[in-house]
């Protein structure tokens, strides 16, 4: 596993959940991509990527998310992102125009199910 980041996986309702801890950059993006893909189960309705614990995200990470969204769409699955308003990566995501293809939740709402240990 990359030294920069690690993945926490689980389910949120009918969707698969991947929480990314740490930083995403060019050095670990391929690795993370594989891990995230693996976490998205075929039976689920979609994939929730929780970026609330992500401390760094640059264009390499944006590119990863775009590719992920494309692949999920091909499988008729939906990609949703969880990004709190104060998250460090918020500005980057907003600038990237990713919100056009993947809805962004502020997260941390009462209805969202907890992530199992």
């Amino acid at each position: 596993m990359s030294e920069l980041a690690y993945l926490e996986t689980g389910r949120r309702g009918d969707a698969s959940l991947v929480r990314v801890h740490g930083e995403i950059d060019a050095s670990n993006v391929d690795e993370l991509s594989v891990g995230i893909e693996r976490a998205s189960e075929h039976g689920s309705i979609g994939l929730v990527v929780d970026l609330s614990e992500t401390t760094y995200l640059d264009s390499a990470g944006i590119a990863l998310l775009f590719r992920l969204a494309e692949r999920l769409r091909a499988r008729r699955q939906e990609l949703r992102l969880v990004v709190p308003a104060q998250a460090p990566v918020r500005a980057v995501l907003e600038l990237s125009g990713l919100s056009a293809i993947a809805p962004i939740d502020p997260g941390e709402d009462a209805t969202s199910p907890g992530i199992p240990d």
Binding site: E3, A26, L57, I62, A91, V92
Partner: protein
């Protein structure tokens, strides 16, 4: 006057310039002597006249003549007036008239005068110790007395006292009396000074007894009617033998006196017969006595003298022999000493030779000498041994010596010698290292040193030199070089440049010995944005220690990459050592620094404690976290972490025991010294501080290798920051951490910070990915704060290999979106991206 051949020493009347006083004194002395002589003459004459045989004035023994002769001999002939006056006085009453008395007196004076002159003429010695002196006095008496006899007898006839026909007998009696007077009295008087030589009372008594015996025997024989007068002769002979003239002279005087007295009184042998017969008998007897006694005495004296001379000669010879013998024995002694000295010197020389030989043997140094004109080479014993031969096994010359040299080195050796000879002056040859092939075929490496001396004119004379077997040294040197190279390669090439810390490392090999130690250090950035420091020491020296050290260091890096936590890393190292049996023992300290929090976590495996030097406050060692050395503990869980603060400005020093362990002092004292040295402070830079700490140790003589690693936690904010990163995606995260810390320290809020961070990261990522591809390169990042605005410059020196793809487009979009301004300058020598962002806009505190 002045006729005396032997004038007395005080007779100075002939000398010029003498004072009148001295002359008067001499004259007075002469007069005294004359009076003495005259008195003696007169008394002796009156006594002897009682013995007169003819008339009243012809006596058979006339002592005054002897007294006169002795006076002339002893006092000199100038006393003649005394003799003449006394003679006249004696003759006057008994002569017919005064004329006859005067003539007789003249005769009586002339006779002794002539006898004395004659004696002095023939070199008479008064001691009468030679036969010739005895003969001389006899002849002088016989001839000299003819004068007095002729004048006296003539006067008797002419004065009518004796008839003319009585002249013959009167002359004979007169002559015999005077002669006997001389022969009997003169020797006695002359012998008187000799009595002083009789020193012992025994001798004196013997002489007295002898003379008494002579007197007694003579009186006895003169009383006897038997004609046995000759019985006195043996006694006289005995006296002459025992005392020479000292015995003979008085003896003869006694005998002659008694005989004359007996004859005068007509007793004993002289009782009957005519006057002529009596006279003849008496004179013959007296002559025999006188002649026998002093002739015998003279002969004995002469013999004694000869014997003495012989003895003296023998003694002298003896002394000479002794002197010569002692000279010889002294010379012998000197010779012996010399021989001993030589032997001693020879022994010392042999001793020194032996010592030199032993020294050469120990040092593997052989020596040689080459007498060039004779081509004679001398090798020391060790020289032979070095070449694999028995000492002095063969005679050496130059070609034989060169034959020992390895064939590949012969030319070089010859050239070295030839160049030296060509120089034609005294000098030392350059040292030469060459190989030889020993008798058993093995090769050795020798180091040769030589010295050339030349004669006047530059003709080569002599070359001396040494060779040292350096084969083992060469081997050791080679191994040392390998170990050193290995160690140098095993230590990190450089230290990572990490914003927020200064790092300085020092490695000092031990001053003593050739062995390379197993000390090592390392510093690296590890996952999680930490900095890991490690210093270790592998027990032992040389190649094995160096190689173990290298493996440990690499293992530590690997474990730290997996999980940088100190307990994890040290436990893994422990297991590694245990399972692979890398080394018997090793110590290590591993420290993990979190720059964001300014804390350190550490574990020490038997290693000396790290030292912390705060900005202000006390320098102190970090305690805790100490476990046993690696490989010595059963359970790895014994290694537990400790932690400590390392605020900005603080310095952390880790080192190996060489810095604190010294001979003669305890480890505690070594640690105290280091702490005191570190407390001194005042160093301009961290480097200077490290050098000072090392110098304080080196001054006291470091005996072991020293590895030293110093880390200072410094503020990055405020001023501009420069980063130079490798063109590798893996460099991006460390660079971001540095930038993030810088932004924090300049007071940028989290939102602005993260946006600038992304923009900067994008620029770096683009440079890394597009400028170099797979090639090597570096990317320079500069951050500066000016007028509330952060300026970021990212520069690469590569060529962008592809036109901007999707990634780059998106990155550029991000940069433009996050920053106030973005300028991209693509040049032939690289691309520069310049970005600005005001802290004020959207800077949420």
């Amino acid at each position: 006057m002045g006729l005396g051949l032997r004038a007395p020493p005080n007779d100075k009347r002939g000398s010029a310039g003498e004072t009148g006083g001295t002359a008067r004194n001499a004259l007075a002395a002469d007069i005294v002597r004359m009076i003495l002589v005259a008195a003696a003459y007169y008394v002796a004459a009156k006594l002897s006249l009682r013995l007169a045989l003819v008339q009243r004035n012809v006596t058979p023994l006339w002592p005054p003549t002897g007294i006169a002769v002795v006076a002339f001999l002893v006092f000199g002939r100038r006393v003649w007036p005394g003799v003449a006056v006394a003679a006249f006085a004696v003759n006057a009453p008994i002569s017919t008239n005064l004329l006859a008395a005067g003539v007789t007196a003249v005769g009586n004076t002339l006779a002794p005068f002539a006898a004395a002159a004659l004696l002095q003429r023939v070199g008479f010695r008064r001691e009468i110790d030679r036969l010739r002196d005895a003969v001389a006095i006899i002849l002088a008496a016989l001839t000299g007395m003819t004068i007095s006899a002729s004048i006296g007898a003539g006067t008797l006839v002419l004065s009518g006292a004796v008839a003319a026909r009585g002249f013959g007998p009167a002359w004979a009696v007169w002559w015999a009396g005077d002669t006997m007077g001389v022969l009997v009295v003169a020797p006695f008087l002359l012998s008187v000074p000799g009595y002083r030589s009789l020193r012992s009372w025994g001798r004196r008594a013997e002489l007295a007894a002898l003379l008494a015996a002579i007197a007694a025997v003579t009186l006895a024989v003169m009383r006897s009617d038997l004609r046995i007068m000759f019985l006195t002769l043996p006694l006289l002979g005995f006296a002459a033998w025992r005392f020479q003239q000292l015995g003979a002279a008085p003896g003869a005087l006694l005998v002659a006196g008694i005989a004359a007295w007996t004859a005068a009184h007509g007793l004993g042998p002289f009782e009957s017969g005519t006057l002529f017969q009596k006279m003849l008998t008496l004179q013959a007897y007296n002559a025999t006595v006188a002649f026998t006694s002093f002739l015998f005495a003279a002969v004995v004296t002469e013999r004694l003298r000869a014997r003495e001379a012989l003895q003296r000669g023998a003694e002298e010879l003896e002394a000479r022999v002794q002197r010569r013998t002692s000279d010889l024995s002294a010379a012998n002694l000197r010779l012996k000493d010399e021989i001993t000295e030589r032997k001693d010197a020879e022994r010392k020389l042999r001793e020194r030779e032996r010592q030199l030989g032993e020294a050469q043997h120990m040092a593997h140094i052989g020596s040689w000498e080459w007498l060039i004109p004779e081509d004679r080479v001398t090798w020391s014993d060790e020289m032979f041994r070095i070449h694999g031969y028995r000492p002095q096994e063969f005679a050496v010359d130059f070609s034989r010596a060169v034959r020992q040299v390895h064939e590949e080195d012969v030319l070089r050796v010859r050239r070295n010698v030839q160049q030296a000879l060509a120089e034609a002056r005294d000098h030392r040859l350059p040292d030469i290292e060459y190989r030889i092939t020993r008798a058993d075929g093995t090769e050795r490496v020798l180091l040769g040193k030589a010295l050339l001396t030349v004669r006047a004119g530059g003709a080569p004379h002599r070359m001396v030199g040494t060779v040292q077997d350096v084969t083992e040294d060469k081997q050791a040197q080679r191994e040392h070089l390998i170990a050193e190279t290995l160690q140098r390669n095993l230590l990190p090439e450089g230290l990572p440049a990490i914003p927020g810390i200064e790092l300085v490392a020092r490695y000092v090999p031990a001053a003593e010995g050739m062995e390379v130690g197993g000390d090592w250090y390392d510093a690296l950035e590890v996952p999680g944005g930490y900095v890991a420091l490690a210093v270790g020491d592998v027990v032992g020296h040389g190649l094995r220690a160096a190689s173990s050290m290298g493996q440990l260091r690499m293992a530590l890096r690997a474990y730290a990459m997996l999980d940088p936590s100190p307990a994890h890393v040290v436990r893994r190292l422990h297991e590694l050592i245990e399972h692979l049996a890398l080394t018997e023992m090793a110590t290590v300290i591993y420290i993990l620094l979190d720059l964001d929090s300014g804390t350190v976590r550490y574990v020490s495996a038997g290693h000396p404690p790290p030292l912390v030097i705060p900005v202000d406050g006390e320098v102190a060692y970090l305690g805790g976290g100490l476990g046993p050395p690696l490989g010595t503990v059963r359970h790895p869980d014994d290694y537990l972490e400790a932690h400590a603060e390392l605020p900005i400005g603080s310095t952390l020093v880790v080192y190996t025991d060489g810095l604190v362990e010294r001979r003669g002092i305890s480890i505690t004292e070594g640690l105290d010294r280091l702490r005191r040295a570190a407390s001194a402070g005042g160093d301009a830079t961290l480097e200077a501080m490290c050098d000072r700490l090392l110098a304080s140790v080196a001054a006291e003589g470091a005996s072991d290798d020293i590895a030293l690693l110093a880390l200072r936690h410094v503020a990055v904010g405020g001023g501009p920051m420069h980063l130079s990163i490798r063109a590798d995606p893996r460099s991006l995260a460390p660079a971001r951490r540095a930038v993030r810390r810088w932004l924090e320290q300049i007071g940028a809020g989290p939102k602005v910070s993260s946006e600038i961070l992304v923009a900067c990261g994008e620029a770096c990522a683009n440079a890394v990915q597009h400028a170099y591809g797979a090639g090597e390169g570096r990317v320079d990042v500069d951050l500066a704060l000016a007028d509330g605005e952060v300026q970021v410059t990212v520069r690469d020196s590569g060529r962008w290999k592809a036109a901007s793809g999707t990634g780059w487009g998106r990155g550029l979009t991000l940069m433009r979106g996050l920053m106030d301004s973005v300028e991209i300058d693509r040049g032939t020598d690289g691309t520069t991206v310049r970005m600005r962002r005001s802290l004020g806009a959207g800077n949420v505190p």
